[in-house]
């Protein structure tokens, strides 16, 4: 019972993180059909912001991190993606690769290739222990933060006029524009939201790892993309479901695999993803009519 609870929290923690990465990418993909690898740059920028604001009160650091991630997301949209918006999806994909590599190189020349460490908050290194159950506080915080963000995003999309315009644009961009939905604004908003999600990812990742490198966020974005594809890339609900399925599966593998095989956990996980996509190429949640949130 106690280990079950511990595994459950771990699975939720991992799944929540994957869902967070997947949502950040699905947000932009839903509107622009752009697989935004530069999402990793946003997470990295958030990580370095936390490093360079060490010593300031936590709330100030969090606000600055969100501000930097959102500002960078908006600048990237304006500078890198607006010009290729009408281009083929491959062009946008390559652009996003280029942006992500450019910013990683920039970070390396500015801050060095070595990890830079910081403590987001000492609390994040503590754990609760109940008898046999060992719960890192960061895992609980992650689950709560992800739940609040997903719930907030869901409310925004379903209860506000701006959210309605985003859902319309995600389903049929040109018809939404015909009705007066401003393309630039809705795309900027999607990038801004992905910036907020990237900032949360940066805080939670750094809270757990303690250090940031120029490639910080690259793995996260890979897992996020896989989670989003598992769920069905153009649906936000799919991104969340995909994230938790991937996290849950990863945790199950961790528990049941013999010790000798645990290094191959991710390889087995991706093999399972591969099989899933052979059976259901559209992902778990069909991205056709009626499933987009």
């Amino acid at each position: 019972m106690s280990t079950l609870l511990q595994s459950l929290v771990n699975a939720l923690n991992l799944g929540g993180l994957y869902a967070l990465y997947a949502l950040g990418m699905a947000m932009v993909f839903g509107i622009l059909r752009l697989v935004n690898f530069a999402h990793s740059s946003l997470i990295m920028a958030g990580g370095y912001t936390l490093v360079f604001t060490a010593g300031l009160p936590l709330i100030v650091r969090l606000v600055l991190t969100v501000a930097v991630c959102v500002a960078l997301a908006l600048v990237l949209e304006l500078v890198a993606f607006r010009g290729v918006r009408a281009a083929a999806p491959e062009t946008m994909l390559v652009t996003s690769f280029a942006v992500s590599m450019l910013l990683a190189s920039l970070a390396e020349s500015l801050f060095g290739a070595l990890p830079r460490s910081t403590d987001v908050d000492p609390v994040f290194r503590e754990s609760w222990t109940f008898g046999q159950v060992y719960l890192p506080k960061i895992n609980v915080v992650t689950v709560i933060v992800v739940a609040v963000l997903i719930g907030g995003l869901g409310l925004f999309l379903t209860r506000t006029p701006a959210g309605l315009r985003m859902r319309a644009a995600a389903e049929d961009f040109s018809t939404a524009r015909l009705l007066g939905v401003a393309a630039d604004r809705v795309i900027s908003l999607a990038f801004a939201i992905s910036g907020v999600l990237a900032a949360a990812a940066a805080v939670l990742l750094l809270g757990a790892n303690g250090s940031v490198t120029p490639t910080f966020g690259v793995n996260a974005v890979l897992f996020g993309l896989i989670a989003a594809v598992v769920g069905g890339l153009s649906s936000l609900r799919g991104a969340v479901v995909g994230g938790f399925v991937l996290g849950g599966a990863s945790q199950v593998l961790q528990e049941v695999l013999p010790v000798a095989l645990t290094p191959f956990r991710d390889a087995l996980l991706f093999a399972a993803v591969f099989c899933l996509l052979v059976v259901r190429p559209g992902g778990l949640i069909r991205s056709g009519q009626g499933v987009r949130v």
């Binding site: 006029p161 309605l164 859902r167 319309a168 524009r177 009705l179 007066g180 009519q289 009626g290």
Partner: protein
């Protein structure tokens, strides 16, 4: 004579190396119903797409009430009072009927006026009132067409562009669409109607322009064109869809 509400001059539309429209001129006056007919690929939909901003014309101008709208993005054109009911209806199938209608009023800020207009459209299309909270993708084709028209009207347009509104509908629903268009004209709305059902379109319209291979080959009233059926036989080879 007063200036036309819609004035199109020398409108040319190209898709890559294919020229869909070769310098089309078209005037539509306040309160008029003008139909555009012609065979498939004649440039009817391209004309509406260029007027509404969906495609950027290669040459030519479009003015609405004297304001130049050619080259503007669709979200800007709609703010000049132009609403398009697109071919294939293009309703948002994942959203509810009410949400589709709310999106039709995206450009408006007068909440009270929007609420009043919503009531008017729900009175006009009672089936939509019953289905308000349903997902629009579950509606039948005829209901989706009514929703598409109601959604366009929610912007309170000065000029309504209808692209093939009767396409693919059962005869009873084709009647409903034509009755709706006639009713909207009686209410004083200025309308451009693109139809493959040429006979009925010509007879309903004040004036008709016949498009062929991207050019207007003839314009006039139903009498001037020798009656809808005769015109259809002469210019469209009698091939009509949905009549």
């Amino acid at each position: 004579m007063v200036d036309p509400l819609l004035s199109v001059r020398g409108l040319t539309v190209r898709y890559g190396s294919v020229t869909a429209l070769h310098g089309v001129d078209l005037d539509v006056h306040q309160g008029e119903l003008v139909s555009l007919v012609g065979p498939n690929g004649a440039g009817k939909s391209s004309t509406l797409a260029a007027v509404s901003g969906l495609v950027r014309p290669a040459a030519g101008t479009v003015t609405v009430a004297g304001d130049m709208v050619s080259g503007l993005a669709p979200e800007r054109v709609v703010r000049h009072g132009v609403a398009l009911v697109p071919e294939g209806r293009k309703i948002f199938t994942s959203l509810t009927v009410a949400e589709n209608l709310a999106l039709g009023a995206t450009i408006r800020r007068d909440a009270a006026g929007v609420a009043a207009d919503l009531e008017r459209q729900l009175d006009r299309f009672p089936i939509l009132r019953d289905r308000c909270s349903q997902q629009a993708g579950l509606l039948s084709g005829g209901e989706q067409q009514q929703l598409a028209i109601a959604r366009a009207l929610m912007s309170r347009p000065r000029l309504l562009l209808l692209d093939e509104p009767s396409l693919g509908l059962a005869p009873r629903l084709v009647d409903l669409v034509f009755e709706t268009v006639a009713q909207l004209r009686r209410e004083g709305l200025t309308i451009v109607l693109v139809e493959q059902n040429a006979t009925r379109a010509v007879e309903l319209a004040d004036r008709t322009s016949i498009l062929r291979s991207g050019r207007i080959v003839r314009s006039g009233t139903a009498e001037e064109l020798g009656g809808g059926a005769a015109m259809a036989a002469e210019y469209l080879g009698g091939a009509e869809v949905g009549s």
